[in-house]
């Protein structure tokens, strides 16, 4: 690996944030085209067509897929033979701020002290880059690469997310049924359907929601496990539909990441009800 320069890292991370905010991956475009082709409700078909046109327009003109440009989240995958300079994390942070300005993102950073930021009494910063990134996660991988994934998480899915213990009764199906029940409720309320469901199953609230985010990082719309497909199909049977207008496409795909578990009668499940422009994510490698 070549020596990492601060400015190079800032620039690459900024570009990655813009890519995350303005493009769908080819597999996601295929998933949309597939759903559009088999949609039986004309209104929902119209919505899916507009969402495909939106993705084309966004990529062509480097425009945000949605004007809620989201909160930046970062996952670093660190090769075991890689060397990470001490200024790498500050460079990632500066790159995120630069990317928000380059996009430009909606200026959503809240000003003030603790209480003022909660009440939003002091108003907002004019600088899109003021929106600090969420605490990051580092995952060990083989080799000497350093991969950085930027995910832009919008507000709608945040309102429809849920992290809670589920008593498993020593039966996987019990947990799966609960996940489906959560998803049906969340997707009906989302507003910006079709949803992309991300589940993490772990031992703590922190671990479960980290796993859900990791599931979105890894999302490949061409690959669905039996469990993922079952969840998608059961929620789609509700016919909530694109933009809530009915039809066959309430959920585009589901991504589940099951982590280590511990001896107990419960599991912690985390659901992120990602929306029709999600998962806005892109990866760069150093």
């Amino acid at each position: 690996m070549s020596k990492l320069h601060y400015d190079t890292v800032v620039d690459r991370i900024a570009d990655t944030l813009v890519t995350a905010s303005t493009t769908f991956t080819p597999d996601q475009m295929r998933a949309y085209a597939h759903c559009k082709a088999k949609e039986t409700n004309p209104n929902a078909g119209w919505v899916l067509e507009k969402l495909i046109e939106n993705a084309e327009e966004a990529e062509k003109n480097a425009l945000p897929l949605c004007d809620d440009t989201g909160t930046p989240h970062v996952i670093i995958e660190l090769g075991k033979d890689a060397t990470l300079p001490g200024d790498f994390l500050p460079a990632v942070e500066a790159g995120v701020a630069e990317g928000l300005r380059r996009l430009p993102a909606r200026a959503m950073g809240v000003l003030g002290d603790d209480k003022e930021r909660v009440s939003q009494k002091k108003g907002l910063s004019d600088d899109p880059g003021h929106l600090a990134m969420a605490p990051l996660r580092i995952i060990a991988i083989p080799g000497n690469a350093i991969r950085v994934t930027v995910l832009m998480l919008g507000g709608g899915p945040e309102l429809r997310g849920k992290t809670l213990r589920v008593f498993h009764k020593h039966n996987f199906q019990v947990v799966l049924d609960e996940m489906v029940a959560w998803a049906k409720e969340a997707v009906a309320l989302l507003g910006c359907q079709p949803a992309i469901l991300a589940f993490g199953v772990g031992r703590s609230n922190f671990e479960a929601s980290s796993l859900a985010l990791e599931a979105l990082k890894n999302a490949d719309f061409d690959v669905q496990t039996d469990v993922e497909k079952e969840i998608t199909d059961r929620v789609n049977a509700e016919h909530i539909g694109a933009l809530g207008l009915g039809g066959d496409t309430s959920v585009l795909a589901t991504f589940v990441k099951i982590g280590a578990q511990r001896a107990s009668g419960w599991r912690v499940v985390s659901l992120r009800t990602e929306c029709c422009v999600g998962p806005r994510r892109a990866t760069c490698e150093f």
């Binding site: 945000p64 909606r106 507003g191 910006c192 029709c276």
Partner: protein
Amino acid sequence: MNVTTPLSQDVINSLTINDQILITGKIYTGRDAALPKLIELYEQGRLAENGISLTGGVIFHTAVSDAGIGPTSSNKVEIEESIPLLSQAGIKIHLGKGKLSDATVAALKAHGSVFAVTPPASALLTAKMTHKRVAAFPEEGIEALYELTVVDFPAIIAIAHGRSIFDR
């Protein structure tokens, strides 16, 4: 179907739920912050002195930022509450997303106005916008009342003449 603002009552009467429309002309924007203030101006009879004409108009429930435009949920309290009064004031199409209450469906019918929805397709919608200017309440920033000029802006009629696309 193509419609041009300002809209006549005849055009509105000809629209039914499930119609796909393309809107061309000037439209206003507003959401939680601006709409209650707009109603205040209307109730005080001060729209004209502020250069605002709602007759035959469209209100799009969106913020307007450098990141573009896109519908917010129209069933937020301040937004949904604005629909009956702004219909009375002359607005013919309320444009946003989400299911509205039976009371709002009835109010739209009573005033001869409709509700249309559009997807959160910001890149696409922003490309349909040829001009924007702040029409009132600049202190609200991205939530100010904007006047946009749009060409072939896509929407679908969701509530009209007492019927709602969301009733299933």
